[in-house]
Structures are given as structure tokens and as C-alpha cells.
Symmetry: C2
Subunit: 395 residues, 2 copies
């Protein structure tokens, strides 16, 4: 009865979201403290106090017709200007309000970018492992996601495989840095190499190829490592940002796109993403939250909270014999499954009330993703279960 | 450079939105009190006090990780339940939380419904005059909008023309009641007739044809007229609602879809709209606002405010010789242009600092739309300009 495209999606519904629903049911059945739900990137750190304070201040001083009203589809101009200024201060860029479009989270922003760019059959490259929704976002506009196979030693981009994957139909490359699900950071050298390959391919094919940089985890970095700001290395870049993780506002759906003036046909492109925002039904990013984030740009995520979780989990899992990369950013750990079929492992883990997402949801079977944006207690209390699983599999 | 679909949209950008931008510029140039901007449905009535009070209460009592966190893609279960209960109380329906999906405004909801239903080439009928974005929403999923020509005497649906427009490819009919831009209400008899035609056509073609009922103006009714709740007359109905107009929250992007259990393949359909919500990048309706509207379901729009505007404008325009239907609902007036090319008239009106939207944006050339959700002062002060225009055109 439903559309053919949706039939495929319904039959193959998001494992992550199904886990989330399952986790809630298990919590009801066994008690929330007895379920170790590492399935979803739903931060357990409360939003900074400044968020509630700003909401209260806005309610007191702003006209409700403005605070809750329509504005330009691209967002409130003063909000966009504050974001541009903040980026310029932190990354030495030269943006103005005209380079910023407020979006319904990063997911909304990516959809607008892809709607603006893709003709049917256009290819979008992505480095495995990648967030599984990219495939759906690209398919929304009849594009084809082309997977660059993972380097499971380092989880850094395999640049040779990437170069081979770029064709005359390549319209965009999605980069997610820091990376979900691996937690690695792509360093400046890698970004320069990717930019160099794309410059060369653009010349060779006479095409414009965009980097779409999905950056919800930009501020979640443990090592002091720099996360390169890609517009400084490559003109045809669209940055998608979300405040979901930094300000712990995932349910509020607030983020932005950056379209640098150096991008090809910048003015037309900016108009296109703005119109996409409108016709896809977002219309504009939620108005109150636009004004809230503009006042919270200097707030920091409580990175210490996540670092503590990472350390206790990483150290214990390594001790138990699991194999995984120590995350440098984001709040995910990508663990090698003790058995080739990682779905078997996630099913076994469920018996320990541990919820993990199979790596096949990230185009990387044989691994599982653990989201450690949960309470410290959840991490610590899950350890005996992980230990029993390790023993069961003879690690 | 941008996609072909977007090229068409950029070249033919929304006249309404362009007017909105133009109105802001004119207000800066001439002063806001000297510009009579009737272009956009952006309510001038402030949100009810209960909205700010509820936000403050929620900030005080709810955990920020819940208040601003992810929930099921369909929305918070308790919010959906309250909405179902409110509908049941008011319309004698029998909905539960499982019939309600929270959406990013009505526009977001309509997109989810169309994504769930349409295969490429499927037809969606709409009664002219209709909100121009319907055409874009349908085109997002490669559907074809089939226009039912307007009856410019009554602006009620032409049922004979409608019946002729329904084909084996018809997948849905969009109904907007009370109507934007005409302000008329389709009475129960008309809804029954439409339902009867569709039942017959479904049988004839062996197809399922959905009514998608776009109802942001349901609560804005002047005459005491009943706006029929369509699920009671026709099983294959999807209702799209928005709190934008009733609670004056258009910028917050909060609404819901109703999928009645009687709809064909209800369970699969509900799953499909929920997944569409996710993959289109909405993910979920803004979390704080979900909880706000759940507490404000009994708040009433200040219909007196709009009625006063309607009366002063309607009476004066009739006196000056303009021809239009007295609106029964919503906050729009659809005025016959004094010259066949209504764009000439809107350009002349601009010289009087009066901003109106050409009817060709509603598939009804020869008319103009006036949004009177503005201050009473704007209405009154615009009258001399309307009078001069009437004299100029010899009305």
C-alpha cells in the first residue's frame, strides 16, 4: 500500500532506532538500572544551565510574535551573524550571516544540501564505517551512495580506494569528523590529501564535487587534537553542524549549514539550500532555539564526563581481551566482534542487558558500536556483562 | 551547478516569501507603520500566556536530558495520548497515541505523508485555489499535482470537475479546510460528497485513495460553522495539523499527523510516516514544544482579533467596489483583481505600500490574497491606499 521506496525502508527499519525502542521496553521490564543501553547518541549530560537561563531571559524580553514567529527561511539574521563571528574567531574563517543557514538539526541540513545538489543517479561517496542514515538521505534525492571500504587497522580514510571511487558522476563526498562510529579524527594531512584528490578530479572531469562535512561531534575531542575546518582547505565545502551533542539538545532539532562564498555558484547554491529548507517542509529551524544557541556559542560540552566513560570502558574492554581503537573524539567506541557475525554477538550481549548496534548498520560488519553518552554508572555496571561475554567467546 | 529540480524552484522562487523579504526591506526604508504587509500568514496575535508559563514550568520540573532529548521518532507517547484524548473529546473520534505522530509543523507532516504514499508518477488532486507549496511537496516525491479548477462564484469544490480528475493513478486528494487563500469552509455535505466519490473510485479502480486534510486553520472559524472532522466520513484520511496559527507558534515548527486505525494497512502506514520523519531529517518534532502544546490544547486562538480585522477590511473593500467572498475561517481574504492581470494590480498596490500575493501563486490568476493576521492599525491605515487604488481602476 505504501510507496515502494518506503516499503524497503519499513522492511529494513533502522536497527539503531529499533534498539532504542527495545531498550525502553527492557528498562520497563528489568528496571532502568539493570539495562545498559549503548545504542543511541542521546547525551546523558544535561544541557548547560545557560540554556534554561537564556530561554527564561528570552521569554521575559522578546515579543512572542518574534520569538515564536516566522523569519526568513535561512533563519534570524542576527543569529546567523553571531554564529559566523564565532566560527571566524575560532577557526580564522571569514564568514558572514550570508554564509549560514539555520537548520532542523544536522540531519535537516544534510537533506537540504543533498536536495540542492543531486540529480537522479548522481553519486555521493562516503568512507565506511559511516552513519547509516547517509544512505537514506542520498536515496531521498535518487542519488547513489558509493562506499569507500574501511581500513579496519586505523579507521582512517583509504585514500587510494577513495580516488578510485570518484567518477564523473560523483557530486559529493560526505566526511564525518570526528567519526561516528569509530571515534577517530581525520587529521589535517588527510583533509589536505582528500582536497588535493578532489581538485584533480574536478579538473579531470570538468565537474564540481562537494565535500559535505557532517560535524555534530566537532567539539567532542579528548586529545587536544585539532579537527581541521574544511572550508579552509577546499572551496566546494558545505559544513553541517548540530547543537545536539555539544549543548545536549538532540530533541530540539537545531543546527546550521555553512556555505562558504568560495563555493561554486555560491549565491545560487545558498538560495537552493534555503528553498530546499522551505519545500521539504522544515520551513525554518525552530525559532526559540535559534535564539538560544546564539547565546550559548561559548558553552562547552562536558567533555570530562565522556572522557571518564571512555576510559573506564576502554581500559576494561581491552583488559577483557576485546579489540578496539581508543576514541579521540565523539562518544562512540567501535569494537571488533568476537565472532565474524556481529549480529550474533549483539544478540548475546542483549542477554546481558547490553545494547550495542551491529557494525553492518555502518557498512562495516564484524564490528559493533557502543555509544557511551550514558551515565558513568551504566558504564561501570555493564562491565561484568562484558567480562562474561569475553569469557564465553574465549577472548 | 545545482540540481535540475532546484533550478526550477530557484528561478520560480516563492512569491510569498519574496514579498515577505521585500516587506521587511520596505519597512526599513519607509518605517514599519507606513508599510501594509498582507503577504504572509505570520500571526500578529501573541502566543497565549500559557505557552510561556508552560515553558517555565517544564524548565523547572523536567530533566533537561528528557526535555531536550531524543524520544521515539513519532514523539513523546504522553503528548500523543493527550492530543488523541483532546480530539476524541472535541470530535467524538476514538484515537489513541498510536494514531498520532508529532511533526515539524504541518508542512513537515504533509511531506512525511506524501513520502509514505507516493510512487513516481502518482497523482495528487487539489482544489484550486490552493496553497502553492502543495505542488512542491508533491514534486519532492516525483508525484504529479492535478488541479481541480476553481468555482470562482463560491470557491467551494467543483465536485463534477473533481470526479473527472480522479484517475487510476490518483493516490491522494489534498483538502485544506478552512481554506487558504479563500477563507471559505467546506461544509459537511461537501465532505460527504467527496468521500462518496472517492469510495466509488476506489472500488472502480481497486485502489486506495487518501484524503490528506491540511488543517492549520481548524480553530480559526468566525461563523460558528462546523469544520467536519474528515476521519469520521472517510477511512483513508490523514489529517495534518499545526499549532502555528492557533497558538501563534509558526516559527517553532510544531504539529502532528493523525493516521486513523481504519486507514488501509494502518500499521504499515504509521510505520512509514514515522520512518519518513526520520529519513527526511526531521527525526522528531522539537521536544520542548511537544510538551508545551500538550499543556495548551484547550487554549483558544484570539478569534476576535482576526474577526475585527476581517470586518474592517471586508466592509471597506466592498464599499470601495472590490469584489470578494466574506471569509468564514482562516485569516485570508481572496479579492478579485480590478484588472485581469493581478500581478499588475499587486505592483500598483506596492506603490501604496500594500503587499498582496498574486492569485497565480494559488493556481487562481485574476485574484489576490490578503493575509489579515496583522495589527488592526495596519488594516485601518491601509484603507486610504485601497481606496485610491479602487478609484484609479474605476471600481
Amino acid at each position: 500500500m505504501i510507496s515502494k521506496k518506503m516499503e524497503g525502508l519499513v522492511n529494513n527499519n533502522s536497527v539503531i532506532r529499533r534498539m532504542f525502542e527495545e531498550g525502553k521496553k527492557m528498562a520497563e521490564e528489568f528496571g532502568a538500572d539493570k539495562v545498559y543501553d549503548f545504542s543511541l547518541g542521546n547525551p546523558n549530560v544535561p544541557a548547560p544551565k545557560k540554556v534554561a537561563e537564556t530561554i527564561e531571559a528570552l521569554l521575559a524580553k522578546e515579543e512572542p510574535t518574534v520569538l515564536h514567529g516566522y523569519m526568513s527561511n535561512a533563519g534570524f539574521p542576527e543569529v546567523r551573524e553571531k554564529i559566523a563571528d564565532s566560527l571566524n574567531k575560532r577557526f580564522g574563517t571569514g564568514f558572514t550571516a550570508d554564509n549560514i543557514m539555520m537548520t532542523v538539526g544536522a540531519a535537516g541540513g544534510l537533506n537540504c544540501a543533498l536536495k540542492a545538489l543531486l540529480n537522479p543517479g548522481d553519486e555521493v561517496a562516503a568512507f565506511a564505517p559511516y552513519f547509516v542514515e547517509y544512505r537514506n538521505y542520498v536515496a531521498n534525492y535518487d542519488g547513489v551512495l558509493v562506499e569507500v571500504a574501511p581500513d579496519t587497522e586505523t579507521f582512517q580514510p583509504d585514500l587510494e580506494a577513495f580516488e578510485a571511487a570518484v567518477t564523473p558522476r560523483t557530486r559529493a563526498v560526505i566526511i564525518n569528523n570526528p567519526n561516528n562510529p569509530s571515534g577517530v579524527i581525520y587529521p589535517e594531512e588527510t583533509i589536505k590529501d582528500i582536497a588535493e584528490i578532489l581538485e584533480r578530479k574536478q579538473k579531470e572531469y570538468g565537474s564540481e564535487i562537494f565535500i559535505i562535512s557532517d560535524e555534530p561531534y566537532r567539539e567532542l575531542v579528548y586529545t587536544g587534537a585539532e579537527v581541521p575546518y574544511i572550508t579552509k582547505y577546499y572551496a566546494n565545502t558545505i559544513v553541517g553542524y548540530s547543537f545536539s551533542k555539544t549543548l545536549s539538545l538532540p530533541g530540539e532539532r537545531i543546527g546550521y549549514l555553512v556555505i562558504p562564498s568560495e563555493a561554486a555558484d555560491y549565491e545560487q547554491l545558498f538560495q537552493a539550500v534555503t528553498i530546499a529548507n522551505r519545500v521539504l517542509g522544515f520551513v525554518n529551524a525552530p525559532s526559540l532555539m535559534q535564539k538560544v544557541v546564539a547565546e550559548c556559542l561559548d558553552e562547552k560540552a562536558d567533555i570530562g564526563f565522556y572522557a571518564k566513560n571512555r576510559d573506564v570502558l576502554y581500559d576494561a574492554l581491552k583488559e577483557y581481551g576485546y579489540s578496539c581503537i581508543r576514541p579521540e573524539g565523539a562518544f562512540y567506541m567501535f569494537i571488533k566482534s568476537p565472532v565474524p557475525d556481529e549480529k550474533e554477538f549483539t544478540e548475546e550481549a542483549k542477554k546481558e542487558h547490553i545494547l550495542l548496534v551491529p557494525g553492518s548498520s555502518f557498512a562495516c560488519p564484524g564490528y559493533v558500536r557502543l555509544s557511551y553518552c550514558v551515565s558513568y554508572g551504566t558504564c561501570v555496571n555493564s562491565l561484568p556483562g562484558f567480562k562474561r561475554l569475553a569469557e564465553k567467546y574465549g577472548l
